[in-house]
Amino acid sequence: MMEKLGPDNLATLKEAVAMLVADGCSLSIGGFTINRNPMAAVHEIIRQKRRGLHLYAHSNGQGVDELVGAGCVDRIEIAYAGSGRFAPTCVRFRRAVEQGRLQVEDYSNYQMTLRFMAGAMGLPFLPTRSGLGTDILTKWGFPAALRRQDETLPDAKVITLDNPFGTWGGAAKLVLVPAINPDVTIIHVQEADRFGNARIQGLTFADIEQARAARRLLITCERLVDDEYLRHRPEHNQVSFLHTDAVVQVPWGAYPTACFNSYDYDPEYLNDYRRAAGDDSTYEKYLKEKILAVRDHFEFLAARKKKSLARLRADPATGYATGLDRR
């Protein structure tokens, strides 16, 4: 087990992003809508002005919308672009699609999860019964001609297969969805050690599959813990050092999305974001002032009112900020 970490500070995040996330690479990020998105890393990618990314997402919400909004993403394969009540459809995503600035391929959440799982399992595809008869199978965002040319894309969006075992398993037909092996996956977790072992508290979403499918894995964590601590109850760890390339400790690294047992999402920030995102000029201002003008996640957080962060702290009894005003 070799150390996967430089000094545990934000300089490392800058370096890790610079090293792992190249222009034009394929990327997937962990989290779901307004929870455990690796926002510190997302903002760092935006600050480093990465361009031409191919993003693989299921319902990764806020992180996806900010990457799309900042112009980092050319292509996206996605199941759901929304941030719950804060943005039933992600605003910058919607605008980019309607303006034809983003090539989109639509899948369902399970299909995307299975695609990551196939990548993690070293398989070219996995089957499901989801989507038979729908336009998800027949309408392709990446045309067949493009798919044949571009070797970073599978030749087909999906393939339908008659059950080769006849009626066994009660399924007559299966949808095969092609594997994803992202160049880079970034996840944010509660605890990790300097070797790259990690523990997620609460729901894991598709983070485990995304992490294990990736060629390179960057983990940001709330707390860098001793490996002895993680090894005391290794059945509670979900990612091992075998898959990890870099670990950076970034407290509040998922903010403004939530991190179970650590802090809640910030309703004020997310509402402000939705409003800003609704118009190109206010969005430019948001991007410039909130993200690009700050040096790192520490400065980004420092710009928030102390009190506004403090009231997001998770109640140890529930894992979220009980009674938080979320209007």
Binding site: T33, G82, R85, S130, K173, P267
Partner: protein, 258 residues
């Protein structure tokens, strides 16, 4: 011609949906009003139902209403916290899947309960882009029974979907089986005007119930295809107990109720 009411459309919808949930069912919830319906059902008529999220939470204790299916509030005090792979496998599973009722919303619905939650206009260059499927296509594909929330507008109840995201009864009896889809299709569509069902023999949408102050004709006028109105009955208004539960115990901040 709406009579004076002491409840809102959303409250009526949440309660109408809650009444559809059977005790013992596993209730798949999306974001928003479906979550309130499931919370209310569990507190009123279906105490042994299980609230279940695609994010991997089984039997969440919803002390506060979540604002997304990934809200940390769904992770608290569950029977099991897993991930998406677990959740969808539970629905595709032959033994657990058939106990699940899925509550879905959409931008468009057709007479057979097929749904669009992806685009309006041409897929390649859409006029309006929505969030996309999320887990809706999966749930609609796998489970035995779905309940659908819609705003009742002519442009949303259409003969032909702009994009077919989630399978309902497809094109009528045997449609699902022909495609290789398991389970049943939609049982009810709950709107701000009334409740639609699907005929046992033709699997077409018909008007099952209309809310107080709404006429069947008004519902037909707001529907882009012909509805059989002959079986329509008045839907009882929310009871004071139902309203009390919904307002005080499900969404006191009115985050979803508005």
């Amino acid at each position: 011609m709406v009579a004076e009411r002491d409840y809102t459309d959303r409250e009526m919808m949440a309660i109408a949906a809650a009444r559809q949930i059977r005790n013992g069912e596993i209730v798949f919830c999306g974001t928003g009003i479906s979550m309130l319906a499931a919370m209310a059902a569990k507190k009123i008529s279906a105490p042994e139902s299980t609230i279940f999220f695609e994010t991997g939470a089984i039997d969440s204790r919803l002390d506060e209403v979540p604002l997304a299916v990934a809200d940390s509030r769904v992770m608290y005090h569950t029977a099991l916290n897993g991930g998406l792979a677990d959740a969808f496998a539970t629905m595709q599973n032959r033994f657990t899947g058939e106990q699940v009722v899925g509550i879905l919303g959409a931008a468009q619905i057709d007479p057979f309960g097929n749904l669009n939650s992806t685009v309006i206009g041409d897929y390649a260059r859409p006029k309006i882009r929505f969030s996309g499927s999320g887990g809706a296509c999966d749930v609609a594909s796998f489970v035995n029974r779905t309940i659908i929330f819609m705003q009742h507008e002519k442009r949303k109840f259409v003969n032909q979907l702009d994009y077919f995201t989630s399978p309902g009864w497809i094109d009528g009896p045997g449609g699902r089986r022909r495609l290789g889809l398991p389970g049943g299709g939609p049982a009810a569509v709950i709107t701000n005007l009334g409740i639609m069902g699907f005929g046992e023999t033709d699997r077409r949408m018909y008007l099952m119930a209309f809310y107080p102050g709404v006429s069947p004709e008004e519902i037909q006028q707001n529907t882009g295809f012909a509805l059989d109105l002959s079986r329509a009955r008045p839907c009882p208004p929310p009871t004071p107990e139902e309203l009390e539960t919904l307002r005080r115990h499900c969404d006191p901040q009115r985050l979803i109720l508005g």
